[in-house]
Subunit: 197 residues, 2 copies
Amino acid sequence: MRETSDINALIELMAKLPGLGPVSARRAVLHLIRKRQLMLNPLANLIQRVAKGACACENCGNIGMTTICEICSDTKRNRDSLCVVEDVADLWAMERSGVFTGQYHVLGGTLSALDSIGPEELRIPHLVQRVENEQFSEVILALNATIDGQTTAHYIADKIADRCRITSLARGVPIGGELDYLDDGTITTAMRARQTF
Amino acid sequence: MRETSDINALIELMAKLPGLGPVSARRAVLHLIRKRQLMLNPLANLIQRVAKGACACENCGNIGMTTICEICSDTKRNRDSLCVVEDVADLWAMERSGVFTGQYHVLGGTLSALDSIGPEELRIPHLVQRVENEQFSEVILALNATIDGQTTAHYIADKIADRCRITSLARGVPIGGELDYLDDGTITTAMRARQTF
């Protein structure tokens, strides 16, 4: 490799991003340098600003540019229901759907005996405290439909059982899903939870 | 979308990179923010430096951090042969192979009547001038084996015909290639240029 050291180092670093490998990192960096005014300079400024300012919201765990995120400080949002998600990416996905207008709590992962992640490693004690203080009428456990996700959901449900109504996302056939391609577990669940047409 | 504006803008900009889309840009930015010390801060510094320093080599057109690139200023490299490539990415690919130790000239594209790219839009006049001044004994036309690439190769060969030996890369079956998956043109070319085993 003969790219000069800084460019080379940039390519190596970009190659470590999820979704990019060495080849696409090289293409991306070349593209950036070619489009200096349109891409490279704005990107340099933005990354600098994000590197300085990005932080986790002290309340919900969302990532933003302020210590209390936009969602938590939005007075128009309903303060009656709390949606618990594993990860910031899940919170963003939920927000994109636009279906939920309440408060969030990001756990930062799931309980996992194998990786020795207990409640203290996640933001579960903080969640229990919020449920006690903020008097939600409903807590929605929007955790992933994986074994770890469901274990964590059951653990949390136990902890906050008497404080409010606890719900979870419906399980069934995804929109656009074809039965032929679905796993047995999904079909069984969808069949058992069938609804009047 | 509810990510705060700077983070959002960063995601939108990253999504414009080749090889990344909106989803993978989001994942990449979250990954960066999570690994602040290891990824985000170094990336911010590197991009800043590259945005300030990156420029095209005045001699060969390679992209580097100096006005004359490392390859052109390397006194150990042979000054007897010149390899003409379409693009900086091709130069880097050639360097990775390590097979060539001479000088380079990057055209910056190919002639194209459709896109009205003539010799003046590429670095062809500069190439002709270099061939006159630097007295290469061989010019290797390492242009892509596409119609535009070959048109450009023929145009250049015409321009510098009497000055030195002109060669081009061999055409044939690529290493690891299976005949079954190769196009007719490649098989025909490889058959015609067959060699004693």
